[in-house]
Symmetry: C2
Subunit: 325 residues, 2 copies
Amino acid sequence: MPKQVTILDVANKSGYGVGTVSRVISGDPHVKASTRKKIEEVIKELNFTPNVNGARLRKKHSGVIAVMVPIINHPFFAEFVEDIDSVAMQNGYSLLLVTSKMNVEKERDILNKIKRKEVDGAIFVTHYEHDNEEIKGCPLVSVDRHLNNHVPFVSSDNYDSTKEAIEYLISTGAKRIGYLGTKPHVESEVMLREKAYLDVLEKHHLESFLMNEVVDHGEEDKLVDKFIETYKNVDAVFVSGTSLAQIFYSRMKMMGKKIPEEMQIISYDGLFNAWDNGEFISCIQQPIKELAEGAFHLLIDVINEKEVQRKNIYKSTFIKGDTTK
Amino acid sequence: MPKQVTILDVANKSGYGVGTVSRVISGDPHVKASTRKKIEEVIKELNFTPNVNGARLRKKHSGVIAVMVPIINHPFFAEFVEDIDSVAMQNGYSLLLVTSKMNVEKERDILNKIKRKEVDGAIFVTHYEHDNEEIKGCPLVSVDRHLNNHVPFVSSDNYDSTKEAIEYLISTGAKRIGYLGTKPHVESEVMLREKAYLDVLEKHHLESFLMNEVVDHGEEDKLVDKFIETYKNVDAVFVSGTSLAQIFYSRMKMMGKKIPEEMQIISYDGLFNAWDNGEFISCIQQPIKELAEGAFHLLIDVINEKEVQRKNIYKSTFIKGDTTK
DNA sequence: CTGAAAGCGCTTACAG
DNA sequence: CTGAAAGCGCTTACAG
């Protein structure tokens, strides 16, 4: 292993001190142009690359943030992570992606990385409880749910946009409107979808057909089948979640249902691709990019110990596709 | 910001020296049991977590490896990354995932992270050239392609398994067998698929219907349409790549082709899910887990400057689905 | 089995 | 605008 070139080598060879070399590396403007030029030459000549561990140790932060999602092979999370990556990069941060696989240990591991100064903070999409003691002192931002009273979160306007969707279905003449969703394991803003659904139906004196259960990833099709079995005569369904909506749509097609004539579907979370047959599912599209950027900036503020709002809501958009009248 | 608890605090409070504290943290067996016990108590009491940057600076390696894939929202890469994550974790390494998005700058950035000692090495799934100068001194392992003569790679047995697939199609009576694929930007083991196809057809004196082009991600459907347009009378197609196979299959269905009676399909890379109609595409399944583990151990050896084999081939499996006779 | 000390490579007041 | 020096928190020969 060849000995690493250090800032001291650059200093010696250029005839300046290490402090000055450090300043040109960090882009400090208080350096004479000629000095900068000379030092930059030597850096190139020696093929010097600063060791990040020295800097991190000294500066007491790493410039990396973690983002934790349950799974990554999923349209919402993939896009969310990508958007965070962009904004982080623009702001000089790099990203550590952790896929928790719904594993509490992996979630805890991130908290440890924060304590070990490996990362400066984390954006958490979690489905577990973490006690206050282990969270304490960890800069964290949550999405959709509040981990505890001190952790700020971003979320889309679950209540309002669901309400809008249900009202829309009613306006098209739907009479028997179902709700099909997977319930989060813990308290979350997502639960407001169910509440909005129920509120609107009650207001219009309509019967409800609700199925909202805790389901493991990969078991969604069973829930869909149970829903279909249980509520045979619904004429419209609000589906909370992309995968669920995909499955439900396929089942309806296979059963030969006419969409949207006999069955309307609105999905919370849009699919970005058309189906094989060119159809799009009508959906409430979450403002993923805004959520990502919001979460990022929130986290940076938390890291810098600024005051932040605990609740940060971003507006979704209803997109009419081919599955509603 | 509360002052960080350091190893020195633990040393003082426990009455031992920092060296001894360091030894119990690292699990060094040469520590008296009673000493270990006492120090562990103090660690708990002070809620001490070792700062990773101090250790990394001193040890001159980070214990993290990077893995770079073009996109992550893709069944092959998602699984590949997950498998590397598992094996890395088992071996005390952590993973930095980078999604290159086919962006050369992001690829270079990893090389920089290695030079900056942020990561110890990287597993590269790249589609670009990197000149030897910038790669030099960077512990790297490639998948499917050789970056240069010094970088070892893992790959599946592209030639043999393609050959097997084509032979299979012929054995079922297929006479006009097409090849549909996206060509890698750079030299790669993947190109052996085309070669195998051509070799087998020649051996059997059959006509070839080949379309293998460089295509941007997201533009695959255009290539598929062009293939269909160009080769109207093929009765079987070998499709190189999951996405392409999905698209081709859908198109055939839409066109009302009877599968496998009128059209057989074999895909290189399996889909793990059935279609809406319950059908599976016949495929050559790459040994993803073996590739992942192979790549990881190879990289560790490279990092530790051991001798390694440059070429590491793992065997694929042909899985008969519903798209072949 | 343990301690004292050097040193990993950087940044940052401080002084000039 | 620049240099000398302290120090970030750890590990690891070395000596005992």
